[in-house]
Each structure stands twice: as C-alpha cells, then as structure tokens.
C-alpha cells in the first residue's frame, strides 16, 4: 500500500512555529516525523512513498492555490492512500488537513485519512461528515501511539474497500 503524507513545517522536520511561512513543497521518500508512524504502517503493509508539506500560515494566506496544487500533485504521484496529519492541537495545521482531505477525496478519488485532537472543535464540526478524522491527543497528551495505529488500520481498510462504518464510530469524530 503506497502512502502519501501531508505535513506542516513542524511534522515535516522543517523547523518550528517561526517557520510557519514555509511555502508548499514535497519530497519523495520519508521525511520528518514519518518514523513515528512507520512501525504502524508496516503492520498494515504500508510504505510512505512521498511527503508533501506546507507551513500553516502560508496555507492560510494561499488556501485556494495550495489546496488545488496539493490535489493535482497527489493525483500525479498516485498513492493508494493519503494521510493528512497527525495535526495534534495545531489549529492551522488541523484546518489545512481537513480542507486538503476534502478536496482530495472529492477530486482525486483517492482515500484520505486526517487526524487531529479534539481542541480543533470548529474544524472537526465543519468537516467530520465529509472527511474521516481520526481522534488523537493534543501535543504532549496521552494515547499518541494508539491513534497512530488507528490511522493506519483505517487507511488499510479504505484501501481494501472494506466497510469502515463500525471502525469509524470507534476511532473517528
């Protein structure tokens, strides 16, 4: 299962909050926080083939353009599944995940999983019916490992085109 990850600057290993203006970019292969999710992906025979990233304030200022470009790029790279996150309680990043997930699932016909913590209430409320948003802890909270595992299980089921309604009830918002 070929996986594409979408990150903000922190998860991409491109700096901290001060680099929020990082423009849209991407790398083939694994970058930044991939090693965190990698063992869980292995369990479902997944492998990260590419990572796309964008600073959260750059996204905010160029939302429409970034969403479209990301979607086109995802189509071009043609992964089996896209994971947007984990976004923790980073508000800007969580919103970016949700907005991009929506566009990809609608326009690219590739399954998408997003993940964020409950602190992103507005985003969750607005997108939870359209996008699969997996529950996860805020930055520094408990239960990270478990939610990374949940993301991968859901991704696999989507790829296998299995029924996800029961699982979704348990692990998504």
């Amino acid at each position: 299962m070929k996986v594409l990850m979408i990150f903000d600057q922190i998860q991409a290993g491109m700096g901290g909050k001060e680099r929020a203006n990082l423009p849209l970019g991407g790398k083939k292969g694994e970058i930044g926080s991939v090693p965190m999710i990698d063992p869980h992906l292995k369990k479902v025979e997944g492998k990260v083939i590419a990572c796309l990233y964008c600073g959260d304030s750059y996204f905010k200022e160029n939302e429409e353009e970034v969403v479209k470009k990301m979607t086109v790029m995802v189509k071009k790279l043609d992964p089996d599944v896209v994971i947007c996150g984990p976004a923790y309680n980073y508000n800007g990043y969580a919103y970016m995940c949700a907005a991009i997930s929506k566009e990809i699932s609608e326009k690219a016909n590739i399954p998408v999983v997003a993940a964020m913590s409950q602190e992103n209430e507005e985003t969750i409320l607005k997108y939870k019916e359209i996008v699969n948003i997996v529950k996860m802890p805020k930055k520094g909270g408990t239960g990270l490992n478990e939610s990374l595992n949940n993301i991968c299980i859901l991704a696999r089921k989507l790829f296998d085109k299995e029924d996800i309604s029961k699982l979704k009830e348990k692990i998504c918002y």
Binding site: I10, G15, G26, M36, T71, K75, T142
Partner: protein, 448 residues
C-alpha cells in the same frame, strides 16, 4: 518492551494530567511566575555577583541603596503564599466550573482567617503585642497550607453554590450584583468552617494551622524533594514520558514544582539576607543544570546534527533548530527528527539529562560550585549566562559548557546510526533516478 512500559505509564500520565487538583495547583503557581521573575531581578541587581558592585552604587545613591530594591522583591516572594492561594483558588474554580473570582478571594480570606494575627515584641514598656500579619506566614512557609486551603475553600464554596443555597435576586438585576449576592451564603459557609478550624488548631500544641502543616507536611516533603533521588526520578520521568509523545515536564511538574519552587525561594531569601544558601536541588538546578536546549538536553544533539551529520534531512533540521535550541526550544526536534516513539534516540534522550543531573549534584555537593541563589532566571536564558547569574561563579558557566560537550559525546553514536539510515534512504532514492524534491512549479491548476 515499549508496549509494556506504555501500558504502565499511560494511566499514570492520564491520571496526573487529568487530576483537577494537581492541574489547578500547577497552573495556580504559574500565575505568580512573572511576578517572581521580576521580583528576583530586583534582588539580582541589589546583589550582583561582581566585587565592588555594592560600594560602587553606594557612592552614587548612598549607603543602603539596596533596601529600595528589596521593597519590590519583598512584595513578591514574601507574599508568595498569598499569590499562590489566589492563583490556585482561581484556577481550581476554573477547573470545576465555579465562580472564579469569588473562588479566588474566598480562598484568600480563608487563608488569612487561619493566620496568626498578633506579633509579640519587646517594646520600651516591656512585652507588647501588635495586631499584624507576619511575613513569615505569607512567605514560603505557608505554601503548602495555601494549596490545601484554596482547594478546600473552592470545593466547599462550589458545593454550597451548586446546592442552590444562594440568595436569588429578581431578573433584570445586573450580573455583577447578581453574582455577588449569589456568593453570599456559600462564602459564609466557607468562612464559618475556617473559623472553626482556626479555633481547633489553637487548642492543639501546634497553635496554628500554619505551624501544623509546615511541621507535619511541608518540612518532610521538602526534605524528600531536596535530594538527588528525587531529581533522578524527576529527570528520567520527564524524558520517558516524551518518548511516548506525552509532555513529560507537564506531568512531572504537577507533583514536583511546588517543592522545587519553595526550595528556590528559600535560597533567594537567604541570598537577599546575605546568609549561606541552604539548598542544592532548587528550581534553578532543574532549569539551568539538568538540560540544555530543552527536554533531553537536545542542544548537544543539535550541535552534532549541524557539525558531523551527513544526511541532508538531519543537517537541514539541525540548522533550523540551533537558534531556537540556544533558547531552550526543541519542538522542531521532538517531532521533526523525531524523538517521539524513536527507540534509538530515547537512550541518549534519557541518558544525557541523567548524567547532567548526577555530575551537577557532585559539583554542588563537593563545593566545587556555589549553590544557586534562587534568582528566577527565565528558562530561555542561554547557557553560560544562566550559570553565571544563578551562582555568581564563572566556574558554573564553564561547567555548563562542559556538560553540553559531554552531551555531544553521548549523543554521537546514536545520531550517527540515524544519520547513516537517513543517508542510505537519500542515496537509494537518487540511484533510482527519482528527483528527491517534488516541484510544484509545473503544476497547472487546469489539471484538476
């Protein structure tokens, strides 16, 4: 093994992180932090660690110039218990959904109800009494009592409030008036209870609640906290929690910070008075000698990432992280390298702070370094400066640098393993003739 460890640690972190009392105490203390920092700067200026400092300014402002600065310092750390009682009362009210400001001030009043309010002194006409509150009850010795009183007060207040024992005014009354009347009966109940508590304590040999709590709770707990053993438990748990993505210091501080804070302020008071400093394991010991560049002492790691690593990915992250690292911020590393859930990096991430702690303990215990003066230096102060300002000794600044270098030695084999792996990934990708960077330049929006 990691899974088993996680099964043990998760519930602990969960319980500590969600325990409303502990969270309220931790957050309540944070209210006074900025004031303590400013107050201690006044003390630092009054007692700057340069020979001839005091004499120099005495020539300009006259003898005793320090006392002006001390007045400000006194207004913060000599009333630390009052600040704590208000801060904790407020934050606990917020936690349990009670009226915050009423909760804060009823806590303060309860605390003062318990306080001895007469001071006996030898006057010209023999022994006399003065109606006054002594700083000795509002300073550090009252801290533990302040925690207990504020939690109990808010609890009782909210209990009575929720029972509906309030005076209700007709609709249309302004909310401020409405709230203050609603708080009348609950406040009366709280105050009456503490009135009884005070009388009870006066019947005991301890004579006051302050004396009782200080003797049976605060002094023994501080004794336990003021030890290398407690420091080791603290520093190891901070790192181990981070491995699982849990903010370790936030969990550990909910238990330890009242103790460390109190020890610091006791040193600060001794420093101001020119007395021998009593404690080694203060908040400054934790902030300024255990870790450099954030949890896990990652400044050493970042230095290696910039200097000896070959993989692009690590070098780039290193360059971006070095400036934040100097100021103690390491979020980019924690998630970007990453440290979280990375079984290779966790070993030095635990090891380096542990080694720093033990070596610093030896340096202080042996008298090689003078004890920390309790001046609350912001944790973002770069190393060297922080060591010097907190001890007045250049040796401490040098010692910090040595610890960072030593940290590099410990981190070296581990970051090299990671570096090799990442480098291999990068090379295999170039060999496959795939361009590493994905370019968005030729993306046309019409493709959609």
């Amino acid at each position: 093994m990691f899974e088993k460890l996680e099964k043990v640690l998760m519930p602990v972190a969960d319980r500590l992180g969600k325990n409303k009392v502990l969270v309220a105490i931790r957050d309540g203390f944070l209210v006074s932090t900025p004031l303590i920092i400013v107050g201690s700067l006044f003390i630092l200026i009054a007692n700057f660690p340069i020979p001839g400092w005091s004499e120099f300014w005495a020539k300009i402002f006259g003898e005793g110039w320090e006392s002006y600065l001390s007045n400000v310092a006194r207004a913060t750390f000599d009333i630390i218990s009052l600040l704590a009682v208000i801060g904790i009362g407020y934050s606990y009210s917020r936690q349990i959904g009670a009226d915050r400001i009423q909760g804060a001030i009823v806590s303060l009043v309860s605390f003062v109800i318990l306080m001895p309010t007469t001071i006996v002194y030898e006057g010209a006409k023999g022994t006399e009494t003065l109606n006054a509150i002594s700083f000795s009850f509002t300073g550090t010795s009252g801290i533990f009592l302040s925690m207990i009183v504020s939690i109990l007060s808010v609890r009782i207040f909210n209990w009575a409030y929720k029972k509906g024992w309030t005076i209700k005014l007709p609709e249309g009354v302004p909310p401020a008036v409405f709230n203050s009347f609603a708080a009348l009966i609950p406040s009366a109940i709280v105050m009456f209870i503490f009135f009884l508590v005070r009388i009870l304590f006066e019947l005991t040999p301890y004579e006051s609640a302050h004396n009782f709590i200080y003797t049976v709770l605060q002094a023994p707990l501080m004794g336990v906290g003021n030890s290398l053993g407690a420091q080791i438990i603290y520093v190891v748990s901070c790192s181990v929690f981070w491995f699982f993505g849990i903010n370790g210091p936030a969990v550990a501080n909910s238990v330890f910070s009242p103790i460390f804070r109190t020890l610091s302020i006791e040193n600060l008071k001794a420093f101001q008075a020119g007395l021998a400093l009593p404690h080694i394991y203060t908040g400054q010991f934790v902030d300024l000698f255990q870790t450099f560049g954030g949890g896990g002492s990652t400044l050493s790691l970042v230095i290696l990432m910039v200097t000896v690593c070959k993989s692009e990915r690590i070098k780039q992250l290193g360059k971006l992280s070095i400036v934040p690292g100097v100021f103690g911020i390491n979020e980019p590393i924690i998630f970007g390298l990453p440290i979280v859930l990375n079984p290779v990096m966790i070993i030095p991430f635990i090891g380096v702070p542990l080694i720093n702690t033990i070596l610093s303990a030896i340096a202080f215990e042996s008298g090689f370094l003078p004890y920390t003066n309790g001046v609350e230096i912001p944790w973002t102060t770069p190393l060297g400066f922080s060591g010097y300002l907190s001890t007045g000794s250049l040796k401490a600044a040098l010692f910090q640098v040595i610890l960072v270098v030593l940290g590099c030695v410990v981190y070296y084999p581990f970051i090299k393993i990671l570096d090799k792996n990442y480098l291999k990934d990068e090379q295999s990708q170039t060999e496959e003739d795939e361009l590493e960077d994905i370019s968005f330049d030729d993306i046309s929006l019409d493709d959609i």
